[in-house]
């Protein structure tokens, strides 16, 4: 019994020592409140660092006679994942002091946390002015255009500005007090109010490119949102992306990809509205979708005599496309009249429409509709597409589509939709302006000439952006004047 009690006593003492030691250790090591240190700019993952022990592999270094437990800056940057080739790293302090070091020279740069100086840059090989105390933000700045992460400003003709969030963070920005709202607390029968503002780092488009009085802007989000506005709103640089804010109307569009300045009124979505009213008026409608055909590409083809039918059938309107410039995303916008964020198809892998398409209108009006589609992964439209296959194995199904369309003409229908894929295939394989792509445009033009010539009603022809239309296979890179506009025709 005596021995048992002794064992129990020893156990309890040991337990107490362990628990007490842990508490004492925490109390001794904790420097109290640790302010957050953010890693922002041109990074895939914004980091908020608040625990020095969770930064990465700690190293003991000595600098100017003082010892530090520090983590290599390169490890932190790697964890954030630069979204482009980093050019500079800005080490921003609490007082706005912000030295920039070359990203290529940070092998011996460290970040430490000390009770005296908070987060601190420790750069033994750099000039002393690089050692920011009370560090609040590490901004990674891309060396060039940002490899797809850039914010783009274009007009109908040119790419006006291309700049990354990191690059914007190193430019003069306005701190705008954005009104978040009013909170009220009632105490002792009295209302105590607080109006809450958040200070946003903002700029205006006119700071990037000259604008004329009354110029209209089409703001486009990464997920296909579109907003037509003027220069009265602001663009906020938020960590590693850009938001649009209009404080007066409380309009907000998150993660802006780019802005079209002075956009054309015509839009790829016009096909839905034109088709709907033609059907409403009792006209038969032939809707032709040319995957992968952009406006500039068509202009080049027309100038080189590759599209004689389209060139002489009517003036091609330069119409705004959608983002991302993918053929299914474009088709969904074209068939529903809605931007990608509204119609449910905002990425190449999405196929389910959340908005009624022109086929629903045809159904409502008891019109017979037929959709002949060469694409291997069709959209889920109300009228199921008839898949047209490359039966003669000549590398494309456009010739079979041509035959099927002529057969459909014989059967008669009110809404005939044809989707050609040859231009997209050639553009993707050889380039948007390659001779092979021009040949594909020429072949499609010939098919169209015959089909449209025999169609007893209205004809709508629209290009649909694709990987082959914009000179880049990287969708992210494709918010540019080459790929954001498509040709659009209303014939007859």
């Amino acid at each position: 019994m005596h021995k048992r009690g002794w064992y129990l006593g020893v156990c309890l003492v040991l337990l107490g020592l362990v628990a007490g030691g842990a508490v004492a250790g925490i109390a001794l090591r904790s420097p109290g409140h640790i302010p957050p240190l953010k890693v922002t700019g041109d990074v895939a993952n914004v980091l908020t660092l608040q625990d020095p022990d969770n930064l990465g592999q700690m190293e003991k270094i000595t600098f100017q006679g003082a010892g530090y437990r520090a983590v290599r800056l390169a490890d932190i940057i790697a964890a954030a994942g630069p979204s482009a080739d980093a050019g500079q790293i800005h080490l921003v302090g609490l007082d706005g002091f912000a030295p920039a070091v070359k990203a290529a020279d940070i092998q011996d740069c460290y970040i430490a946390f000390t009770a005296k100086n908070g987060w601190e840059a420790v750069n033994p090989k750099h000039p002393n002015s690089s050692n920011t105390k009370f560090l609040t933000e590490i901004v990674v700045v891309a060396e060039d255009g940002g490899n797809g992460s850039s914010f783009n400003v274009i007009d109908r003709e040119t790419d006006l500005a291309q700049i990354t969030p990191g690059q914007l963070l190193t430019r003069p920005l306005t701190l705008y007090p954005y009104d978040e709202g009013k909170a009220v607390a009632q105490k002792d029968g009295k209302d105590y109010e607080v109006q809450v503002f958040t200070r946003r780092r903002v700029f205006k488009i006119s700071e990037l490119t000259p604008l004329g009085a009354g110029d209209i802007l089409l703001v486009t989000g990464e997920n296909g949102d579109q907003l037509l506005t003027d220069d009265s709103g602001y663009f906020e640089v938020k960590d590693n992306y850009i938001n649009y804010l209009q404080p007066d109307t409380r309009t907000r569009l998150e993660r802006v990809k780019g802005v079209v300045v002075r956009p054309p009124a015509a839009s790829i979505t016009d096909a839905y509205y034109d088709g709907r009213r033609y059907l409403d008026s009792g006209d038969k409608v032939l809707l032709v979708v040319l995957d992968g055909l952009a406006y500039r590409q068509y202009s080049y083809a027309a100038a080189n005599g590759c599209a004689p039918f389209l060139q002489h059938a009517g003036q091609a309107a330069q119409a705004c496309g959608v983002f991302p410039p993918d053929k299914n995303v474009a088709l969904a916008a074209l068939l529903t009249g809605k931007a990608p964020a509204e119609n449910g198809v905002a990425a190449a892998e999405e196929h389910t429409l959340k908005a009624p398409s022109i086929f629903a209108e045809a159904d409502r009006l008891n019109k017979k509709a037929l959709f002949l589609d060469t694409a291997p992964t069709p959209l889920g439209t109300e009228t199921a597409p008839v898949a047209i296959k490359d039966q003669n194995a000549d590398g494309g199904a456009d010739d079979e589509l041509h035959e099927a369309a002529l057969a459909a003409l014989e059967q008669g229908c009110d809404l005939l939709t044809l989707r050609f894929g040859g231009i997209e295939d050639a553009g993707r394989r050889y380039g948007p302006l390659a001779p092979e792509t021009m040949q594909a445009i020429s072949a499609t033009d010939k098919y169209l000439s015959e089909i449209a010539g025999r169609w007893p009603g209205k004809v709508i022809v629209a290009g649909a952006q694709g990987a082959g239309s914009g000179g880049s296979s990287e969708v992210q890179e494709s918010f540019n004047s080459d790929n954001m506009f498509v040709p659009y025709w209303r014939l007859k």
Binding site: K3, R4, Y7, L8, V10, C11, H33, P35, P36, T48, Q50, E180, G181, K182, A183, V184, A185, Q186, K187, V196, T198, G214, I216, L228, T229, D230, S232, Q246, D248, T249, R250, T251, R252, E254, A265, A266, S267, T269, D270, Y273, D274, R277, D280, S281, C320, G337, K338, A339, R490
Partner: protein, 371 residues
């Protein structure tokens, strides 16, 4: 049975581990499972004509979502939740509404803390009426519901929520004047407008607002438009004033502008609210609203104008004709309400029978609430 004293420390350690594990493990609560706070009430204001109460138990009947959400506090601290509960939209769906139908929704807590969630948040965010966090019921001080809005600051995340106020009208005052489009456009310059492959007549909206409202009203930032097919839209003041209303031809009255894509055009425009002024299309109203007959005349009940536009109620009204003459009528003069109709000459007119007998207002241009 005698236990060897040598094994006592091991036994103690095992028992401690079991106790520790038991204390730490909590089974996840299933969404919708009954709980002790199910009878707690939440007052709902502004959704129906009368205020009404719902309970946490009612909310548990709705489909739930589970979302991880983080919000930053001013000290940089990140509040993290794994919220489970119905979306506000799922609650509103029962009443044929969505978040986007409201200009503000105010959530109030038991301690009288309240905050109004503005239109931009309502338009772009999911709002979770959460009753579970990380699979566990909320702590007592957060019951019955914690509002969680992923992507927004924690100031909007009202815990202990007991009241929801739904507001419409962009936070602006309701209109106190209604102008009838068909009469108004007769006094405005009309111009040819090419639309739908034909040329029709259109008026500049800036002319319409210059004449019948205050274009410089600094309180106007958004303009509300409603079509006869039910489409509702807010347009910026700048976009609105730069546009036209097509007054003849197919789809008229139609809001449109050459610089707008067709997706921004609104066909069959029923009414517009610009600040304190509503512009109402009688013809479109006749196409989509219930018709009323009075003394063999068919038209739209005056009360429908209130119902549609949210026109402020009053006890005295000024009815103005196209020729500038006006008459002031009290609520008693209106009798059962009155009728707006199209007379044999094709002009709009108003008639009512009240305490002053039958009153007719030919060429009806506008009605203004005076008191």
């Amino acid at each position: 049975m005698k236990i060897s004293t040598k094994k006592l420390p091991l036994l103690a350690l095992i028992m401690l581990s079991i106790l520790f594990a038991a204390a730490c493990s909590k089974e996840n609560t299933k969404a919708g499972a009954p709980g002790p706070h199910d009878e707690e009430k939440i007052l709902v204001h502004g959704l129906q004509e009368e205020d009404f109460e719902i309970t946490l138990g009612d909310l548990k009947q709705l489909p739930t979502v589970s979302k991880h959400a983080e919000a930053e506090r001013s000290n940089g601290e990140i509040v993290k939740v794994d919220a489970t509960g119905p979306l506000l939209d799922a609650f509103l769906q029962q009443y044929g509404k969505t978040q986007k139908d409201f200009s503000r929704v105010r959530f109030t807590a038991k301690d009288k803390y309240s905050i109004a969630v503005p239109a931009d948040v309502l338009a772009g965010r999911q709002i979770i009426l959460s009753y579970l966090n990380k699979g566990q019921p909320l702590a007592d001080e957060m019951q019955p519901v914690r509002v969680v809005i992923p992507g927004e600051r924690a100031m909007y995340w009202v815990m202990n929520m007991i009241r929801m106020d739904f507001e419409t009208g962009g936070g602006q005052e309701p209109p106190n004047k209604v102008v009838f489009l068909e009469t108004a456009v007769k006094n405005l310059p009309q111009q040819d407008y090419e639309d739908l492959d034909r040329v029709d007549q259109a008026v500049k909206i800036s002319d319409l607002i210059d004449k019948y409202a205050d274009p410089n009203d600094s309180g106007v930032s958004n303009v509300f438009l409603k079509a006869s097919d039910g489409l509702q839209k807010n347009e910026t003041k700048a976009n609105f004033l730069s546009a036209f209303i097509k007054t003849s031809g197919p789809e008229a009255p139609k809001f449109l502008a050459p610089q707008f894509p067709q997706g921004m055009h609104i066909r069959g425009l029923l009414y517009v609210i610009f600040g304190h002024t509503a512009v109402f299309s009688y013809n479109e109203g006749m196409a989509c609203l219930p018709k009323q007959t009075e003394e063999n005349l068919e038209g739209i009940a005056f009360s429908q104008i209130f119902k549609q536009t949210g026109l402020t109620g009053g006890s005295k009204y000024k009815f103005t004709s196209a020729d500038g003459r006006s008459i002031q009528l009290t609520i008693n003069d209106l009798g059962s309400g009155g009728l707006i109709y199209q007379n044999e000459q094709g002009a709009l007119a108003f008639t009512c029978t009240g305490t002053s007998g039958r009153i007719n207002v030919p060429g009806l241009l506008s009605v203004e609430v005076l008191q």
